[in-house]
Assembly symmetry: C2
């Protein structure tokens, strides 16, 4: 079954991509399988999702496109092509000529209508997203965000400790009569409590005022999110492997994780590049995850090259009969 734990697991590894649909600023995760998809959206006030399998896609496509008689696989590649750029805030969006609009519905659902052109005729699609199960919200947001907070808090503590050691070193130089050649290099003694109180009083009001496309989940936090969820997955796999074989063979893999995920310093100039890296990274991560699987299971994600708009698609012809 394509739409079970496998798609949710793959979705977890994806970054939350900022998208703007009809003026609604959202973060999105989307996974497109062979003829199925799973999307997650959030505006940080709610989280919505839609999971669709092949049969449901076929039904809805025929309801929305009366003249469409093709099998689901035949038009699904077109749907991927036009929907994915819209759901990943990609610059390819304009190239597809697709129009996407979002409607918030009374019962708390959201509907996204997509209009594009297929074989010279209009092709319509609608994503019907309902509030996601709370368990998904916990997996995709609550737990990663808590782990991120815990990690960052440890880091704050450690850096505070390092600053105290720097101050002890500076004090020793001074007590031995050392002076600075440039007075502006002199720093204040770091006093943790005072620092923290001033930081909170200054930064908290500013943070709440910021209006951001990424809804606050900026590139650095996205990198941290990626590291945290990837680690959780390595650990899960490790635990299940331990049940079969008690030897701890994945320990080195776990320690090597961070550099490969690009958890390094990120400058604002390189933010766009990083986003691309994350996108590529997600495909690499998915592939390596697939390759790791002990059974000869079929990879659940489509080869990205299959979706390339530059490739000719035989299936496109004759969908509307």
């Amino acid at each position: 079954m394509e739409l079970g734990g496998a798609s949710a697991d793959t979705l977890l590894q994806l970054p939350w991509l900022p998208v703007n649909i009809s003026g609604s600023q959202l973060l999105a995760k989307s996974w497109f399988g062979d003829a199925s998809y799973h999307i997650l959206l959030t505006d940080m006030s709610c989280v919505w999702e839609e999971r669709m399998d092949s049969a449901a896609i076929q039904r809805r496509a025929q309801e929305l496109n009366r003249r469409l008689k093709a099998q689901v696989r035949a038009f699904f590649s077109h749907l991927c092509e036009v929907a994915q750029p819209c759901l990943s805030g990609s610059s390819d969006r304009a190239a597809t000529n697709a129009q996407m609009s979002l409607t918030r519905q009374e019962e708390g659902n959201i509907s996204m209508r997509l209009k594009s052109e297929l074989a010279g005729l209009p092709f319509y699609w609608e994503f019907h997203c309902a509030p996601a199960p709370v368990t998904s919200v916990c997996v995709q947001l609550v737990r990663p965000l808590l782990s991120m907070s815990r990690l960052l808090h440890r880091q704050v503590e450690q850096l505070g400790g390092l600053l105290l050691r720097k101050d002890a070193e500076i004090q020793d130089y001074r007590e031995n009569g050392a002076t600075l050649s440039r007075e502006r290099l002199q720093t204040d003694v770091f006093e943790e409590r005072t620092y923290r109180e001033e930081f909170m009083a200054k930064t908290l009001p500013l943070l709440c005022l910021e209006q951001q496309d990424d809804l606050g989940l900026d590139t650095d936090l996205q990198n941290l999110y990626a590291a945290v969820v990837a680690h959780g997955n390595v650990r899960k796999r490790k635990l299940s492997e331990e049940r079969v074989d008690e030897e701890d063979q994945t320990f080195t893999e776990e320690l090597d994780l961070t550099p490969s995920l690009g958890v390094g310093p990120v400058t604002s100039e390189s933010a766009e590049k990083d986003r691309e890296d994350l996108q590529n990274g997600r495909e690499d991560a998915t592939k390596s995850k697939m390759a790791d699987r002990p059974t000869g299971q079929q990879p659940a994600t489509r080869d990205p090259s299959e979706r390339s708009p530059s490739k000719p698609k035989k299936k496109k012809v004759g969908l509307f009969r």
Copy 2:
């Protein structure tokens, strides 16, 4: 209406208290009004809630206690007395002689049965908690955790900057020939990228292995949570006041927020005290919030002294007829 936005808003200001019921480690928030309550529970894999108004409490109490003929207000104080310690991980729990057990149900709900004694007869209660609406999970967990991550990340950046300045000062002393009297005081030059990579490689695996009663939301993070949600509330109030009066009179209040919330250094020894402070703080916060209201609204929370088990309660007598 007691059970609307007011209870949700009050609940937001409360800390998540670690409780262990039948071996299930959970975090809980509970609000008991005049004859109504609202509880939230999470194990970080799901979030459950139950909101009950006076009429619903009356019905369930009579279903579970056939001989109970009293009005809801008459036995509700007893329910508060025995349920609150169970839902706040308090040491008073043993004193009430109440037994609480938790059952996970197939449809994803949890049920908590409470057995105590009232006027010499057994008194039964059940909390029926269903998965909380996603919007509640966003308000109570996702948004605060994201704000916490953002704040902590800023702090990490700032502390990294401070370390670079300390290194510049140290380098200047050294270049001018200064030496240390004790070699062990010498620190390594802080290199942000290397530090971060090593930190992630070391700390991430350790963090995931830790099993904690607080499910990872330790005292420091609780303090940060309190600061973030209190700020959000001040801001909300401020915005609604601005609609009435464009003058920004609450700005000083906003800046003074942090010290009063005790966002200072917290040692592990003072964790228990801090938890008590948080508990007291929540009542103070609630009261000051109420006092702040422009209209002469009745405070929605009960006076804590009313619930004190040491006070004789006339209402206790004759509930079972």
